[in-house]
C-alpha cells in the first residue's frame, strides 16, 4: 500500500512525520481561517445583520431622546451615541463568534477535529480569539461606515480607536471562549448572553455619560471593564472621555491578559473539553 502511494505520486517520498518548529503555524493558520470563513460564509447574518440592528438603535434613540438630550460631553447626542453603538456591536459579535462556534462544535461533537490535531492550547486559544476579534473589527468597520452616512462624525484619535476596537473585540472574544467551554447546551449560552453580555453592554455607558449615574453606581461603574472599552473607544472618536485615557489602556490590556490566561488554562487542562 505504501509502495503504491510512494510510486504513484511525485514527491510522495517525503511521507513520514512532519516536523515544525516551536509554533505549528500551518495548524494555527488553518484553525484561524476556518473560524473566519465560518462567519464570512454567512456574512448576511454575521456582518450585515448587526449593521441593520445598530442603525435601528441609533434611529430609535435619536428619535426618542434627541429632542430632550441635545448635547452630551459637548457633542450632539447622535455623535455621542454612534461610537458607543459601534463598539457594542463589535463586542456582541466577537462574543457570538467564539461562543457559538465552541458550543455548536461541542453539541455536534466535531470539537474533536480541533482537539485531535497537533495544535496546543495556546495556539487554539489565540486562533479562536483572533478570529472572533476579526469578526468584531469587520463588524465595527462596516457599522461605522454605514453610520457615518447618517451621522457624520470625525475621528479625533485613530490610534485610540483602533486600540480599543481591537482590545474590546479581543476581550469579548475571550469571554466567548470561556463561556463556550463552560456551556453544555445552547440554553447556557442564551443565559450568558441574557444575564451577562446584554446587561453589561447596555448599562456601561453606551447610551449615557456615567457622570449622570447617582452614587454608588457612579463609583461601581469604574470597576466595570465594559465601561473602559466603551469610554476609551468613544474618547478616540469624540476626543474626551469619562476616565483618563491611560487608565482605559491599562485596564484593557490587563483584562485581556487575564482572560487570555484563564482561557488558556481551561483549554490546557481540558476542562469540559476532554474526558
Amino acid at each position: 500500500m505504501t509502495d503504491i502511494i510512494r510510486h504513484s505520486r511525485p514527491g510522495a517520498s517525503r511521507l513520514g512525520p512532519r516536523s515544525y518548529g516551536r509554533v505549528n503555524w500551518i495548524g494555527w493558520r488553518s484553525l484561524y481561517l476556518k473560524e473566519v470563513r465560518r462567519f464570512l460564509n454567512v456574512a448576511t447574518q454575521t456582518v450585515a445583520a448587526p449593521v441593520v440592528t445598530t442603525l435601528l438603535f441609533l434611529a430609535i434613540f435619536t428619535l426618542a431622546l434627541g429632542h430632550a438630550v441635545e448635547v452630551v460631553r459637548g457633542v450632539p447626542f447622535a455623535v455621542f451615541l454612534a461610537p458607543g453603538l459601534i463598539v457594542m456591536a463589535m463586542a456582541q459579535n466577537a462574543f457570538a463568534n467564539t461562543s457559538s462556534s465552541l458550543v455548536i462544535s461541542k453539541v455536534q461533537g466535531n470539537i474533536v477535529d480541533v482537539l485531535m490535531p497537533p495544535i496546543n492550547a495556546l495556539e487554539m486559544v489565540t486562533a479562536y480569539a483572533l478570529a472572533g476579534a476579526t469578526r468584531g473589527v469587520v463588524v465595527g468597520f462596516t457599522t461605522g461606515l454605514c453610520m457615518w452616512i447618517f451621522v457624520p462624525f470625525q475621528i479625533s484619535d485613530w490610534g485610540l480607536v483602533l486600540f480599543h476596537g481591537v482590545c474590546a473585540s479581543m476581550m469579548l472574544s475571550l469571554i466567548g471562549i470561556i463561556g463556550g467551554i463552560w456551556a453544555d447546551k445552547f440554553d447556557h449560552m442564551a443565559a450568558i448572553t441574557n444575564f451577562v453580555i446584554t446587561p453589561f453592554s447596555f448599562l456601561s455607558g453606551t447610551f449615557y455619560s456615567i457622570e449622570r449615574l447617582p452614587e454608588p453606581f457612579h463609583t461601581i461603574a469604574y470597576f466595570n471593564p465594559f465601561f473602559y472599552m466603551i469610554d476609551g473607544f468613544r474618547h478616540g472618536v469624540i476626543g474626551s472621555g469619562d476616565a483618563p485615557y491611560w487608565l482605559g489602556i491599562v485596564v484593557m490590556l490587563g483584562i485581556d491578559t487575564v482572560l487570555g490566561l484563564i482561557a488558556w488554562r481551561m483549554v490546557a487542562s481540558g476542562y469540559k473539553l476532554k474526558n
Binding site: V42, T44, Q45, A48, A49, V52, T53, L56, A59, I60, F61, L63, A64, L65, G66, H67, A68, V69, D187, A190, A191, N194, F195, T198, P199, F202, L203, T206, F207, Y208, R212, L213
Partner: protein
C-alpha cells in the same frame, strides 16, 4: 405470542364494531386541540428563556432610557416611561408572535418530520391555521403581560381601557403569528428566516413608533413613510388603550389592524392550502 395477537384482534374489533370513517361536522375540533397542545408543549420547553430574554431586554431598555434622559424628559411633562413601557410591551408581543409560529414551523420543516404529521392529519388549512394562531396569540399575551408586570417598576400603570388593550395585543400577536407562518413557508433555511426577522420585521417593528412619538420624525417624506407603516396604527391603538392617548382615532387604528389581519390570514391560508414549498 402471535397466536394471542391474532386472537385479540378480532375480539377488539368485535367490541368496538367495524372500523368506520370518522365524519367531522363542525370542523375537526379534536385534531385542532391536539395540534394546539403539541404547539403549547413545544413552547413550554423553551418557555423560561422565551420569557426571561424579552423581559430583561425590556427592563434594560427602560433603565437606559431613564438614565440617558430621565430628568430632561421629566421637564417635557409627558410621562415618558409609560410611553416607552407601552411600546416595549407591544413590540415584545409582536416579536413573540412571530417567533412562536415561525420557529415551530421552521423546526418542523428542517429538523424533524413533524410537518408531515400536521399535513397528513385530517385537518384542513383553516383548522391548522387556527391551531397555530391560537397558540401564537396565547403565548404572546402571556409574554406581554409578564413584561407589563416587570415594567411596573418603571412606572407603567394599569391599562386605561383593559378590554381594548387585550384586543390590540391579540390583534398584533395574531398578525405577527400569521406573519411567522408566512415567513417560515418562504424560508428554506434557518438563516433565511433569521434574515427576514432582521432585515424586514425589525425595521418595520422598531420604526413604528414603539419608542418615539410620530412628532419626533421630521415632517415631510419621512413622516409619510412612517405613517404608511400599518404597524404604526397598531402600536398607536395599543398606546391609546393602555395609556389613554394616541395620535390616531382608535377605531381607525383597529380598522387598519383588522384589514391587515385579514390580508395576512388570506395569504397564509392560500400558502398552506396550495402547499407552496411545504408539500412535495
Amino acid at each position: 405470542m402471535t397466536d394471542r395477537a391474532a386472537d385479540d384482534r378480532p375480539r377488539a374489533f368485535a367490541t368496538k364494531g367495524a372500523p368506520q370513517i370518522r365524519i367531522f361536522r363542525l370542523g375537526n375540533v379534536l385534531g385542532m386541540i391536539s395540534l394546539m397542545r403539541r404547539e403549547a408543549l413545544r413552547e413550554y420547553r423553551w418557555f423560561g428563556m422565551a420569557v426571561v430574554g424579552p423581559a430583561i431586554q425590556a427592563i434594560l431598555f427602560a433603565a437606559v432610557f431613564t438614565l440617558a434622559a430621565g430628568d430632561a424628559l421629566a421637564r417635557t411633562g409627558v410621562d415618558f416611561m409609560a410611553f416607552i413601557g407601552a411600546g416595549l410591551v407591544i413590540s415584545a408581543v409582536m416579536q413573540r408572535g412571530l417567533e412562536t409560529t415561525g420557529y415551530s414551523l421552521m423546526f418542523d420543516k428542517l429538523e424533524s418530520d413533524g410537518l408531515n404529521d400536521v399535513l397528513s392529519a385530517p385537518l384542513n388549512t383553516l383548522e391548522i391555521l387556527t391551531a397555530y394562531l391560537v397558540n401564537g396569540i396565547v403565548v404572546s399575551l402571556i409574554i406581554g403581560i409578564g413584561i407589563w408586570l416587570c415594567l411596573f417598576l418603571f412606572g407603567l400603570g394599569l391599562p386605561q381601557h383593559p378590554l381594548a388593550t387585550l384586543f390590540f395585543m391579540a390583534l398584533a400577536a395574531g398578525i405577527f403569528s400569521l406573519g411567522g407562518i408566512i415567513g417560515a413557508v418562504f424560508s428554506a433555511k434557518w438563516d433565511s428566516f433569521a434574515g427576514k426577522e432582521t432585515f424586514i420585521v425589525a425595521p418595520v417593528l422598531f420604526l413604528s413608533g414603539t419608542f418615539f412619538p410620530i412628532t419626533a420624525v421630521p415632517d415631510g417624506l419621512w413622516r409619510t413613510i412612517f405613517q404608511a407603516n400599518p404597524i404604526y396604527y397598531l402600536v398607536d391603538g395599543f398606546r391609546w388603550a393602555a395609556l389613554g392617548y394616541g395620535d390616531t382615532d382608535p377605531l381607525t387604528s383597529a380598522g387598519i389592524g383588522l384589514v391587515v389581519f385579514a390580508i395576512v390570514l388570506a395569504v397564509a391560508a392560500r400558502l398552506l392550502s396550495t402547499g407552496y414549498r411545504i408539500k412535495p
